[in-house]
């Protein structure tokens, strides 16, 4: 088994590409906000606004509930770390990623789940109704999303013969098929749900009846809140990148030489912008669903994923 | 003498008599008549043993005949009379089945016996009929025990069964070794006495000798 040996002779780009996600994820969120407001005919804040928010929050003192335990304070760091580690796994520009031997797509999903687990606990620790409500709904949504997302990924993994993201990314440009389209659609729905966007959740509200993500982090303030938000941004960008790597990785750099890398950067930026555009479109075209209508939406997505699996096995591609 | 007995097939006559005394139980209503019929039955049995003794000419059979006469023919009937007197039982016997029906059924029982004792089971022995009759007597008296409610009636039914048993014994084996007969007779005597005691106990405990009171223990 030659992961170790192979992973030594990688170029620095391979080692550092995860920084792109950590650094630019707020920007992506800003872009989505901007596009959304523009579509709704408003001006809205600048695309850099998330950075300002984060820096401002870092400088603030924190108000912590007396009810809470050490877990409340530990949670933001754990969430951030887990998400960042997930960011390390996913190849952004180059498939020459040394971290492919650290974990595969399943690991990535479970790292995100680790973050969610602690976020939910943090929501419960303050002992308020909102926190509990947020955690409860977040975990429920996860129950609906996770199998569907997994099945979509499985289809991809099966067609690529591996769950190793790098391998999938290297194999797939050749293989594009109906089953991929179905899986992709399912995966997009999964992203919408996971990143807490309309129609599943509304990121811009604190209306207690509707909020999910915001409910959990309601008690957080200062740098804790900053870390939580930042982790959220990263998660969003990770999922975008994952979708790109798995379903249309065409253009990702297969080797370390600068030219291909430059091309990869351009292609990647374009793809991400495409994703943000899609998100903005979805958010401004759809209305928020009632919570108990979600099963029909996500269940439908599950059916899509299943169909993609079946078609792949039947058509063999 | 022997020739005379065989000529008139005395044995068959006596055994048929024994069968009749058993069948007639189904028609009787009062305990006294039960006791009477039992007495007759026992005398016939003793007579039969005596006849067999004449035929075979074994001394211990004469003894057996006397013993039977003494115990079954005299002691037990007296004992029963005593109990009947002591218990002052109502003389009516309420059977579960009507007399005619039970008579019919006892007829069926006889048929079953004749049917089941096929040829080839008993080669020797002086009378196949006697055996069938004896088994019939046993079954009929069991049937009487089934249909009658009084404790004492059941005791008498048991005694009839034993007479039938004796009949079978002699028809099959010309009588068993004396010592064994003694043992058997002794056992049965004890049995009857204890049955009597219990009958009295039941009368005391349940204020009646009716068996349908004796259904507390169930399930």
């Amino acid at each position: 088994m030659s992961f170790w040996k192979a992973s030594i002779e990688r170029d620095t780009m391979g080692y550092l590409q995860f920084l792109i996600i950590i650094l630019f994820s707020p920007l992506v969120n800003g872009m989505i906000k901007k596009l959304k407001t523009n579509m709704q005919g408003r001006v809205g804040p600048g695309v850099l606004q998330p950075y300002y928010d984060l820096l401002r929050l870092l400088k603030k003192d924190m108000v912590v509930s007396t009810t809470t335990s050490w877990l409340f304070k530990a949670t933001p760091y754990i969430v951030f770390t887990a998400t960042a580690t997930a960011a390390v796994i996913v190849p952004v520009l180059s498939t020459e990623s040394p971290y492919s031997m650290m974990g595969d797509v399943i690991t990535l999903i479970y790292l995100l789940a680790l973050g969610r687990f602690f976020m939910a606990l943090g929501g419960l620790d303050a002992g308020t109704g909102f926190g509990g409500e947020g955690s409860s709904r977040e975990m429920t949504v996860a129950i609906l999303v996770e199998p569907m997302m997994m099945l979509a990924l499985f289809t991809a993994a099966i067609s690529a013969g591996s769950t190793n993201i790098v391998l999938i990314a290297t194999v797939h440009p050749a293989a594009f098929s109906p089953s991929h389209l179905l899986a992709l659609t399912a995966f997009i729905v999964a992203i919408v749900a996971e990143t807490g966007r309309v129609p599943v959740d509304n990121p811009d509200t604190h209306l207690e009846l509707t909020m999910i993500h915001e409910g959990m982090i309601l008690e957080y303030s200062g740098r804790y809140l900053a870390l939580m938000e930042w982790a959220h941004y990263m998660k969003q960008m990770i999922l975008f990148t994952l979708a790109i790597d798995i379903f249309f990785p065409l253009g990702i750099a297969q080797s370390g030489n600068p030219a291909t890398l430059a091309a990869a950067v351009a292609v990647y930026a374009a793809k991400v912008t495409g994703m943000t555009l899609l998100m903005a479109l979805v958010e401004s075209s759809r209305a928020k669903m009632r919570f108990f209508q979600l099963p029909s939406l996500l269940g439908g997505a599950f059916v899509l994923a299943f169909l993609s699996l079946v078609t792949h096995i039947m058509m063999g591609k | 003498m022997k020739s005379w007995i065989e000529a008139f097939s005395i044995i068959d006559f006596i055994s048929v008599g024994i069968l009749l005394t058993a069948v007639i139980l189904n028609a009787f209503k009062s305990i006294e008549s039960y006791v009477k019929s039992y007495t007759v039955n026992s005398w016939l049995l003793a007579g039969l043993i005596a006849v067999v003794a004449v035929l075979v000419g074994e001394t211990h059979l004469y003894i057996a005949a006397l013993l039977t006469l003494a115990t079954k023919g005299i002691i037990i009937p007296l004992f029963l009379r005593g109990i009947v007197r002591r218990m002052r039982v109502t003389h009516e016997i309420q059977p579960y089945l009507s007399n005619s029906l039970s008579l019919a059924i006892s007829g069926v029982l006889v048929a079953v016996v004749y049917a089941s004792l096929k040829e080839g089971i008993f080669i020797t022995g002086f009378s196949k009929n006697v055996l069938q009759i004896s088994i019939a007597v046993i079954l009929i008296s069991l049937f009487v025990m089934i249909t009658r409610k009084k404790a004492l009636t059941q005791a008498i039914g048991l005694l009839f069964m034993e007479n039938g048993l004796f009949l079978a014994g002699f028809s099959l084996t010309f009588g068993m070794p004396t010592m064994i007969e003694l043992g058997v007779l002794f056992d049965m005597l004890m049995g009857v006495i204890i049955l009597g005691i219990f009958a009295i106990q039941i009368k005391r405990a349940f204020a009646s000798a009716d068996l349908d009171k004796l259904t507390v223990l169930k399930g």
Binding site: F3, P147 | L214
Partner: protein, 663 residues
């Protein structure tokens, strides 16, 4: 053979331990647990030896001129012995503190020794007689321990458990007899040798009986119903033994019969097992998540984990029957590793639950809360257990589930379409199960240990004694270690895998788990390093950008009303309400709301909300069956009506029937 003396020594240790429990002196109550600890550790040594050497048969002892006891140790037995030893030693340590001033009779010490010894005996049994004796000894000891809490409920639960397991045993006896009749041998080796000529139909019967018989013990749906009842009443330290180990004996027996003895069967066996596993995992955790009794929830979760183990086993059988030995060994590795892991984290969870119940005085989550502040160490161990069982990295549960995923994904390599479709669906089921389990343990941990205490007893709960903490530590530490460095653990179970599948793959390589067929890789240790680096980086970054900021402590935000009370917190029932609504097809919930008014309809005095679900299998399978039997029996009572005449009639009728038909 030196292991023979070792074995004998262990048995003596447990026997002495059991007898020492009969000393009715309260201060000596800890002695039996010392013996069981010593015995378990010695057995651990024995197990390590057995995984390394060729199978050993021990001197047989004759029971009568018909049967004999004989023991045999091979790699499979060795692996299970190691698993048992780990949990048993932890439980022994825990019990020292737990039973010090508990109300339980000193007999618990006796029966715990017997139970542990019988567990070892089961895996070491070499013939069916020995196996049955050990198997039922295990059942009896656990039956007594279930009823140890002398309540009516406990006595009923115990009866239910005993009868269920006895029915299972009846199936096992039947399948043993079929095997014996076919091979004319009573020892497993002989059966294995003689099985070759057996027609597939008979093999199938045996397989199905094994699935039912051992499945009853393992608690597969729908034979799981005894598990929640029993674990609700059983003392927690025993629950750790039962859920962690005794349930695994079902798995062991199934492996021994359907892998070791039967060899390989048609593909649909494997697919059946996969489906059963998926159903058990899903229904188990679905029924579990809505339970508010901590131990009951854990009980259901062990049904779920047995399901996960069966997913692995089924995949392995499927591959084996398709001749894919390497994949088969991979799947079985996943299953066995999950056996070990589940024993560890379910053990620590039950022991933790025991401590929580011990000091909060209730098993009901609705009366707990805020315990993490009051018992931080227990809380930490419980958290590690929860993380492991939710298969979250970097704990051991994640590794075994990751392997299971890989095995299921590789199902597409098997030729038949059914297998291609079923196995990824199994993966999806696993994902769903994982998500529900995560929600369940967020509830189990969050409602009990976080927030504000919901009862006075929980308010003044305090940390438990040292030996109890030590007991939990013995299990919690391996949970993390096996998660980070799975290599050693895998090398322990690899011989067993080789024994059963005839192939073995070294997955672990310089701390990297790699699947040869797919070059999918996982490096928990690397993950940990990354996490640490990230943690340091973010701390430094925050320190630089944000400088030092102070923390202001205040009440939670109360929307401006004057002060929150613990009763305003989210309750356990409310937490799972959405799930109850979404899966109402499965739960068939029924709710009743009693509202009292000052003045209808506006001024409400009080609202009582009572909701309950329909326990499907109890209501529509078990209860009707029991009612039917009872009804028939009470009808039959008329046979003994008490009338002497009737009895005499029986004699006459019997006689006449025999005269007519028999002559």
């Amino acid at each position: 053979m030196e292991t023979e003396q070792l074995l004998f020594f262990c048995i003596v240790l447990f026997a002495v331990g059991a007898l020492s429990a009969l000393v009715p002196v309260k201060t000596f109550r800890f002695i039996p647990y010392l013996f069981s600890l010593a015995g378990s550790l010695t057995f651990l040594f024995l197990g390590l030896i057995l995984t390394g050497i060729t199978p050993v048969s021990y001197q047989a002892l004759s029971s009568s001129s018909i049967f004999e006891f004989s023991l045999r140790g091979d790699a499979l037995a060795g692996f299970f012995i190691i698993t048992i030893s780990l949990v048993a030693s932890a439980v022994s340590v825990y019990s020292i503190g737990f039973t010090r001033n508990s109300v339980y009779a000193s007999l618990s010490g006796f029966f715990i020794n017997v139970l542990i010894l019988s567990l070892y005996a089961v895996v070491l049994s070499a013939n069916l007689f020995t196996f049955l004796i050990s198997w039922e000894t295990m059942a009896i000891a656990s039956y007594f321990l279930v009823t140890l809490d002398r309540s009516e409920e406990a006595s009923r639960a115990g009866l239910f458990y005993a009868v269920m397991t006895h029915i299972g045993t009846a199936f096992i006896i039947a399948l043993f007899f079929i095997l014996y009749r076919a091979t004319n041998r009573m020892d497993f080796e002989g059966m294995k040798a003689g099985i070759t000529a057996m027609p597939t139909a008979v093999k199938t019967i045996i397989f199905i009986f094994a699935l039912i018989g051992f499945g009853t013990k393992a608690g597969i749906v729908p034979l799981h119903t005894w598990i929640p009842r029993a674990y609700t009443v059983v003392p927690p330290h025993v629950a750790a033994l039962m859920s962690g180990l005794m349930v695994k004996m079902g798995i062991y027996g199934f492996l021994r019969i359907s892998f070791d003895v039967l060899g390989q069967g048609p593909e649909w066996w494997g697919i059946t097992v996969i489906s059963v596993g998926a159903v058990s995992a899903l229904l188990g955790i679905l029924y579990g998540i809505i339970e508010n009794d901590l131990k009951r929830f854990l009980a259901y979760s062990s049904v779920e984990n047995v399901g996960i183990i069966l997913l692995g086993i089924g995949a392995s059988m499927m591959f084996k029957s398709n001749g894919l030995a390497a994949l088969s060994s991979l799947a079985l590795t996943a299953a066995l590793f999950h056996v070990l892991n589940h024993a560890l984290f379910k053990g620590v969870l039950f022991l933790g639950a025991g401590s929580i119940i011990h000091s909060s005085g209730t098993g009901n989550m609705e009366h707990m809360g805020g315990l993490l502040k009051r018992m931080p160490v227990t809380g930490l161990f419980f958290l590690s257990g929860a993380l492991s069982i939710c298969a979250l990295p970097p704990f051991n549960g994640f590794v075994s589930e990751w392997l299971t995923y890989q095995a299921l994904l590789l199902g597409y390599q098997s030729p038949s379409i059914t297998a291609k479709i079923v196995s990824p669906l199994g993966g999806a089921a696993l994902a769903l199960t994982g998500a529900i389990a995560a929600a369940g343990f967020v509830k189990a941990f969050g409602i009990t240990l976080l927030g504000a205490p919901r009862s006075d007893k929980s308010r003044d709960a305090e940390e438990v004694s040292f030996s109890m903490l030590a007991g939990m530590a013995i299990l919690a530490v391996p949970c993390l270690v096996f998660g980070l460095i799975p290599g050693p653990a895998l090398s322990l179970l690899m011989p067993a895998v080789y024994l059963l599948t005839g192939a073995s793959t070294t997955l672990e390589h310089h701390g990297v788990l790699g699947i040869g067929q797919t070059s999918a890789a996982l490096s928990p240790i690397g993950m940990l390093v990354t996490m640490i680096v990230m943690m340091i980086a973010v701390l430094v970054f925050i320190r630089i950008r944000g400088g030092k900021r102070k923390i202001v402590y205040a009440d939670s935000w109360d929307c401006g009303i004057s002060g929150l009370t613990p009763r305003m917190q989210y309750t356990a029932t409310a937490f799972t309400k959405p799930i109850r609504i979404i899966y109402k097809r499965i739960y068939l919930p029924s709710r009743d709301i009693k509202v009292q008014y000052f003045l209808k309809p506006f001024f409400v005095k009080s609202i009582r909300y009572g909701g309950e679900i329909t326990p499907f299998f109890e209501r529509y399978v078990y209860e009707p069956a029991t009612r039917f039997i009872q009804a028939v029996a009470s009808k039959a009572k008329l046979l003994q009506s008490g009338s002497l005449n009737l009895y005499l009639a029986y004699i006459l009728i019997t006689l006449i029937l025999l005269l007519i038909f028999a002559t």
